[in-house]
Homo-oligomer: 368 residues x 2
């Protein structure tokens, strides 16, 4: 009888856990939102993860429960834990990935470097924060944002009037960064952790578009500091599974934490071919409390470029025609403008060549 | 609407096509022999592949039909082809992988080097072959043998009396070889082919136990001759998908073809981590008539060792505990002494180290 891992959410992250689960010989079951999801191959329940009956029925049939996303209400996860379900990461950790204000409060206590921030409940508080920060701020809804949604750069309180009507918002200093980095850490319940190489991420319209591993020209200090921050957060918050820490690098060489995710992350797709162990296998090994794998890179450079709009059979064929070295990943989604539908990875010794290859393949056969 | 690939047979080869199909964004459907098969995750039909109704129902629902094994009767495949099903490899090629005597007849016509052989219908013919070959021969049943089954080394006709009662048998010269090699070639219907590096295979009791890629100390002549033989057979027999050619290397540096398989093969498992493109993805890209991938190695050496008996959760954990560099592959099978239940791969710059690593991991936690 094989160990059963249950994944809440049927998106591409759950989809890409399937090959890892298969290789490890563990059974993977997915609670999908709808029929025909990305991870539909492993879907054993289709239903609403915010419905207690659906969620608890699914959880009872698995040995460990983990996630494709952070949206399961904490109170339901706490009930599961009380019922003896192994929820990894646990709600006591996941709450900090769900609520951006709570996360900043906790990381400030831990002396993790952050952009200046405040929670504002009314226009007066917004005015005050703007006055203290050169008249500009990044406003965020504390919950539910992703891929640039729930984020606005503002100069006046009335630009967030609609959000304030619904509740307090988070305000952050608009950091003048030179680039964005991401640090992935996989951590077991018993405490061991494994740190992936820090990567550089390029966003387009607030969405991750390209990732370079390792982050080019990163100083040994930056590399060490990124790993230290990642491990410190994983440890202090008792994260199990993969933790992704998105960071800004400033001109003065400081790292400031931007966001957290407690699951495999777009910035880690590059490791499937790029590293000895993929982030999906690392996540599963971590939530299973199994020995963690080697996370070093297999070659000097690896670059991931997202496929937006579609990853149709025709587009993947065009990418493969473009170069026999390209590694394609389609997410099994229908086409929609701007949608993350897949990604390609290239790797090798020469960063410029590898970038050109991955970008060229991502453009080949593009329809949307 | 995604292209659908149908795989007849639910064994580990079909199982390991699932991640490749998923990455390519094609739908994979499996016709499995029974519930709970290795490839059960993708099984859409469970039934008897020798039953026309079952097979044709399955074939009608896919865009291209391929195989986990060579056991589907040719006459059924010919009916499918007549009905317009894209069967790859087609029965006109597959018949040579199904019948060892037919294969030798055809390869002899093509001047492919083979051990001396004959078909014997009675004890007199066996006696004659033995007399001509120093009193020893390798006897094989023309059909249905695998993993050492259907093969006997014989010195007298009565050792194959039971087989002769059922029909003619194949006799082969017992070759004094220095080692065994395997050459994999992937070929598209339009004719393009891609050749993997030739590998060395080690058998235990007639079963593949270990594979080293590339074959150590292979002369450029041997490498070129192995590739030439693989390509010549793929071309002449019009194979589509992966063709595996098992060969003997003699002391004089000659290559003699031993057996053929027209599907991914145990000798090619090493390429999942070892090469840019896995044999499973190469097979799918070939049968889809898509651009073939790069088949070169990603590092100097890769070694695969089979896990016999079981690949239980405990054994895989023990292998991972043994080294964080080990790449595990469990087949989702119940334990049975001697059964191929999984494999591990290690890779790196130093062959001795890589071998030690893979062998050590395969022994870790061994129960059977």
């Amino acid at each position: 009888m094989s160990i059963r891992v249950g994944v809440v959410g049927g998106g591409q992250l759950a989809r890409m856990m399937i090959p890892a689960a298969q290789a490890l010989g563990v059974e993977i079951r997915v609670l999908a939102e709808s029929e025909g999801s990305s991870a539909g191959l492993a879907a054993t329940v289709v239903g609403d993860y915010t419905d207690w009956e659906t969620l608890s029925f699914f959880a009872q049939e698995v040995d460990v429960l983990t996630f494709d996303h952070e949206h399961v209400p904490t109170r339901l996860l706490e009930r599961l834990v009380a019922d003896g379900v192994a929820v990894r990461p646990g709600p006591h950790a996941l709450m900090f990935a769900q609520d951006k204000a709570l996360m900043r409060e906790r990381l400030s206590e831990l002396d993790v470097p952050l952009p200046a921030w405040a929670v504002a409940a009314d226009t007066h508080a917004v005015e005050q924060f703007l006055a203290e920060h050169d008249g500009v701020a990044v406003a965020k809804t504390p919950r539910g944002g992703y891929d640039g949604k729930g984020v606005r750069v503002v100069n006046t309180p009335h630009e967030v009037g609609d959000w304030l009507a619904a509740g307090p918002i988070l305000l952050e200093q608009k950091v003048e960064f030179v680039r964005e980095l991401a640090q992935l850490v996989a951590r077991r319940p018993q405490g061991d952790s494994a740190t992936f190489p820090v990567v550089e991420t390029l966003q387009q319209n607030g969405v991750c578009a390209e990732v370079v591993a390792p982050a080019p020209d990163a100083s040994p200090d930056i590399v060490a500091e990124a790993a230290r921050i990642g491990q410190a957060i994983a440890e202090a918050l008792d994260v199990t599974g993969v933790l992704a820490v998105e960071m800004f690098e400033t001109a003065s060489g400081q790292l400031l934490v931007n966001e957290l995710a407690m699951r495999p992350h777009n910035s880690g797709h590059v490791f499937t071919e790029g590293a000895v162990t993929s982030q999906f296998e690392a996540h599963l090994r971590a939530v299973l409390d199994w020995p963690l794998g080697e996370t070093t890179l297999r070659q000097p450079w690896a670059v991931m470029v997202n496929l937006f709009g579609d990853a149709s059979n025709e587009r993947i064929q065009a990418a493969l025609e473009y170069s026999p070295h390209i590694r394609p990943h389609a997410y099994g989604k229908s086409a929609r403008p701007g949608r993350k539908a897949g990604h390609v990875v290239a790797y090798g010794d020469d960063l410029d060549q590898v970038k050109t290859l991955a970008r060229g393949a991502s453009e080949a056969g593009r329809q949307h």
